[in-house]
């Protein structure tokens, strides 16, 4: 099977740029919204072709995490989270599998698979991603309250953001 390497690479570059140039700078300052962080780069792992070999996706996640970490000045935190998400991606895909199953050749075509599926996939994936990320960042469950608040707030805004991106770019695979 041929993988669309070029578009995967282009997505990588664009998502990293979006993340570190734009969304890293967006901050809310009032009240509970101050906990919000915008995440777009995990969608790169989400949109990987279904049949991609696991070692490749793990290494890809590691590289992407390290690049993000370099800009975020938090070496290892994003990488650890993203490698973990790449590892459990198959489980999440099984969890939200549509009744007709996946078509491995066209992967996640918005027209075929539907916006609702995208929303639930993004929701579950991001929920776990954010929770793991904030846990690793705090590095101690003493800060459980902050971890949960950050997870919920970031989940709301980041998943909206991702769905908008999906609608705009409408990826074919």
């Amino acid at each position: 099977m041929k993988f669309p390497w070029l578009s995967i690479f282009i997505r990588f570059v664009i998502l990293v740029l979006l993340q570190v140039v734009i969304f890293k700078r967006i901050e809310f300052t009032t009240g509970i919204f101050a906990y919000t962080q915008f995440f777009v780069y995990p969608i790169w792992i989400m949109l990987m072709p279904i049949r991609i070999p696991k070692p490749l996706i793990l290494i890809g996640a590691f590289i992407m995490g390290l690049v993000i970490d370099m800009f975020y000045d938090s070496l290892g935190v994003h990488a650890a989270t993203l490698v973990f998400m790449a590892f459990i991606r198959d489980f999440i895909l099984n969890l939200v599998e549509p009744e007709v199953g996946y078509d491995p050749n066209i992967s996640f075509n918005l027209k075929k698979i539907g916006l609702l599926w995208y929303a639930s996939y993004i929701g579950i994936f991001l929920l776990i991603h954010l929770f793991v990320y904030f846990s690793v960042e705090a590095f101690s469950f003493v800060y459980m309250e902050e971890i949960l608040i950050s997870t919920v707030m970031s989940l709301i805004f980041s998943s909206l953001l991702m769905i908008i991106l999906i609608l705009i770019f409408n990826p074919k695979y």
Binding site: L75, V77, A79, F139
Partner: protein, 277 residues
């Protein structure tokens, strides 16, 4: 080798996952300040608790030798205190500037208890030390809380002690506050109670008064605390009180004792027996 390849083929991605996560956490801990501090602190908590557990366990193994050295030290301190007490009692009205010549009358040999009875009419204790450690028949035996008994028989390595819980035990003792003097006997009921007899009936006594050894014999030094007065009555038709005493020490749970060595036994006994003749 084939098995290894199969293993890698089967769990390769899991192994890679674990490997990458280990790298990530290594980076997190080494290049992020707050996580580094949390890690160091948690690691210290863990290793600290392990260390203290190991320490307390190994302490337990050294308990016996520590006990022995503490016993020896205690015996030395006890000798110091008692000799000083006797010295100051004997020189009550003298100037204390010439303290350098405190008479070292008593010495103490610490010993473990190898065997004992407390529930018979006549109770004995066996000490794990004997003639080799210069224990002789007739020496007194005390514990940290009070008196225990008198050495009766000695072999090379063991000594048999007639405890104060014995029908023939008679200890010369007095009331600490006013020095009225009587004989301490055991009536054979309770291992924690004894009686003071031949205490003259004009003596001033009260509940709770402390009874100490009189120091009139060479067996026990002066002033070792024995117990407190719990009850007293005048013997019917007699001339003396019969006083019930609650002992300070409990012989049934003793494990270590000190044997009292007096340097002037012979001298003192000589002059007493001369007077008798």
């Amino acid at each position: 080798m084939r098995n290894l390849l199969l293993l890698i083929a089967r769990f390769g991605s899991t192994i890679l996952f674990v490997f990458l996560e280990v790298i990530c956490f290594f980076l997190i801990i080494n290049y992020n300040r707050s996580q580094k501090e949390i890690w160091a602190h948690s690691a210290n908590l863990f290793t600290g608790s392990v260390n203290s557990k190991v320490q307390s366990t190994s302490d337990y193994f050294y308990l016996e030798s520590v006990n022995d050295s503490l016993l020896t030290e205690n015996a030395k301190l006890l000798a110091e205190i008692i000799n000083y007490r006797i010295y100051s009692k004997n020189n009550e009205y003298q100037d204390f500037e010439t303290q350098d010549s405190i008479l070292q009358e008593y010495d103490f040999v610490p010993s473990r208890i190898c065997g004992k009875t407390v529930n018979l009419r006549n109770n004995y204790i066996t000490l794990c030390r004997g003639a080799k450690d210069s224990i002789q028949a007739g020496m007194g035996v005390i514990s940290s809380d009070g008196i225990v008994g008198i050495v009766k028989n000695v072999s090379d390595n063991y000594a048999q002690v007639m405890t104060i819980l014995h029908g023939q035990s008679q200890i010369s003792s007095s009331i600490m506050s006013n020095d009225f003097h009587g004989t301490l006997v055991w009536e054979g009921e309770d291992a924690r109670k004894m009686s003071l007899i031949t205490l003259p009936k004009h003596a001033k006594i009260a509940y709770g008064d402390t009874i100490v050894t009189s120091g009139y014999s060479t067996v026990f030094p002066f002033g070792i605390q024995i117990g407190t007065i719990s009850d007293f009555e005048i013997d019917g038709g007699g001339n003396s009180y019969k006083v019930d005493i609650d002992l300070f020490n409990d012989i049934s749970n003793l494990s270590h004792v000190y044997v009292v060595k007096s340097k002037f036994v012979e001298e003192k006994e000589e002059i007493i027996s001369e007077a008798d003749q």
